[in-house]
């Protein structure tokens, strides 16, 4: 039976989870003694708050690697993540000192999978955020993004290091962050319409995207594997995809047919019809 309830606020916060886990371990509570689902109001009926549990042990030694793992796992939306992490911490405190090295253990494996999903989401967010310039303001940019997990706090410092000289904000449905050139400021969630609807440079970017693509190597399956469709709504270039894929075959056939044409004379060979070849190289033209 549940003896205590724990509420981690915000639910991805490592310090809050660490405080709660330490309280649980010091009180000698078994994993099944704690209800970690602090969000569910219905479970508040009887169980007292974990913070009120009486400490009967000294705080156990827990390896730093656990907190590194927990920092990632906590960002996952999996409802059981707090309980899973406590179970791992509990087993380590009970004497399984090398538990994290047992990579085939089901608990360790599960935590590693959650951390991996968060790592992937983080990586894709670094890749697929697209800033749009705020009209009428110099060097100010806003991006709208919908991550799978609660990773904004984890990723924001990356954007601060990279875009230190700009003012920018990233808006997501659950939380937002802004950088003013000096510090990060977190705020509530937002809506897509709160970000600019367009950016003047997107047309040039699409031009680049269309022309760096090699139709002779068409492989949309590989593209989808690396750039899953759920991200496409954030990427201005993806509106070209149907046309690029549809026309690829015809473009390759066209190239093959033109192969039959004789090559023209070399540009630097004496020309018999047009301007002298050196004139065909413009100066910074």
């Amino acid at each position: 039976m549940t003896l205590y309830r724990a509420r981690i606020d915000p639910p991805w916060d490592l310090d809050a989870w660490r405080t709660a886990a330490r309280a649980g371990l010091r009180a000698g509570l078994w994993p099944e003694d704690i209800d970690w689902d602090g969000d569910a109001q219905g479970s508040l009926l009887a169980a007292p708050d974990l913070a009120t549990a009486e400490a009967v042990h000294a705080a156990p030694e827990v390896p730093a690697a656990l907190f590194e793992l927990a920092g990632a796992v906590l960002c996952h939306r999996e409802p059981q993540r707090h309980a899973l992490l406590y179970r791992i911490a509990f087993r380590i405190a009970q004497g399984e000192r090398h538990l994290l090295a047992r990579v085939t253990d089901p608990d360790v494996r599960r935590a590693a999978e959650l951390a991996k999903a968060v790592g992937r989401d983080t990586h894709k967010m670094k890749a697929f955020v697209r800033f749009r310039e705020v009209p009428g303001e110099a060097e100010a940019f806003i991006a709208w993004f919908e991550p799978d997990h609660h990773i904004l706090d984890r990723v924001a410092p990356f954007f601060a290091r990279r875009f230190a000289g700009m003012r920018w904000a990233i808006l997501t449905p659950y939380r937002s962050v802004a950088w003013d050139g000096h510090g990060l400021c977190f705020g509530p969630g937002a809506q897509r319409a709160d970000a600019p609807a367009d950016d003047a440079r997107e047309e040039l970017w699409r031009t680049y995207y269309a022309n760096i693509f090699n139709p002779a190597r068409l492989n949309p399956r590989m593209m989808r594997q690396e750039m899953p469709q759920k991200y496409w709504k954030h990427l201005p270039e993806t509106q070209l995809l149907p046309g690029l894929i549809r026309d690829a075959g015809a473009r390759v056939r066209d190239m093959a047919e033109r192969e039959a044409q004789p090559p023209r004379r070399r540009a630097r060979a004496p020309a018999d019809d047009s301007a002298p070849p050196s004139a065909s190289v413009p100066e910074n033209g």
Binding site: H98, F131, R201, M227
Partner: protein, 423 residues
Amino acid sequence: MQLSRKLALLADAAKYDASCASSGAGGRNSLKSGGIGSTEGMGICHSYTPDGRCVSLLKILLTNFCIYDCAYCINRASSNVPRARFTPDEVVRLTLDFYKRNYIEGLFLSSGIIRNGDYTMEQLVEVARSLREDHRFAGYIHLKTIPEASPELLALAGRYADRLSINIELPTEAGLKALAPEKRLPGIRAAMGTVHTKIEETLEARKPAKPTSATPKRKRPPRYAPAGQSTQMIVGADDADDRSILRTAHGLYDAYRMRRVYYSGFSPIQDASSRLPVQAPPLLREHRLYQADWLLRFYGFEVDEIAPVPEQSERTMLDLDIDPKLAWALRHPERFPVDLNTAPREDLLRVPGLGTRNVDRIVLARRHGRLRVADLARLRAPMQKLLPFVQLLDHHPRRRLDDPATLRAQLAPKPRQQDLFAA
């Protein structure tokens, strides 16, 4: 000419360079400078084109005018493609505009040769200089290096760029002579050597002095191409076999500590020269060469093991239907089964289906208990491929290794699946 038209032509002209890597530049950011840009070791792919290739860098040519006439190149002097040329400032602005919107990790700038090597190289270096010095740009810069450029320009290029590359172009000197008559292998190799020496010297000079040393504090020299140098070989434009390609690659890794050798399957181009084969090589060939390259660099294999000396025919080609590690294992059933609980790491690396990561996980996990089939399955290893070659506490492949031909037939993918690569 409009900027967008130039961009279209000069991106189109750049797409036959396979590299888009943006990794290995070390850690660097803009918090102190108040500029723009960072590199954090790992590269980022900001998009993917429908050919499945990563878009990490703004990969363009400064110009596609070229005085050379290399048969495989879309920009060769005798080609009919429309020509264009960016000013250095246009490239700087495009790079910054794209970077600020998080489209790219940086710039990969190459160029056709205009006037001469030095003139062209000066223009490339000017773009990199302006980004770094005028705009405090700390993103990734890869400069294609012109082999004929002077050592002074090579020295300057490496100060601003993270990576330098000089393309070896073709696997053999005979191929180069036939298809790129103005290019000279000794010149290419000399430039690679210059860059290599400069990288090594700079690394040595930047090492922190020993605390006991009595010498006065010296200023550390600036970095030089911290992400090293790479090169590219075109596959399938001449008749070089896979063994010669891998031997050349191995030699380049060895002599110049190349970070990467890229294999670029010859791709049909507009207005192709009649000296080229009509058929492009299968994309799968390029894929197998990359797999073989990885085996050479990270798995302890030798060229002779992956692409053995030919016995009857003149040429050694990698199998297309199975990967080169599996092919080696099937040629050497006497080396299996490998006991995953006791075998040294070098032997684990040779097991088909085991990558370096899972090898490390196995080495870690077996310290804490002997491994069974279920443990391996939890690592998401490809069991069907693995099990014939390994022994575990509750598994032995028995006689499956006695008949490599049957095993090969079982493990080779069905032809239907090969279409995935042939697209």
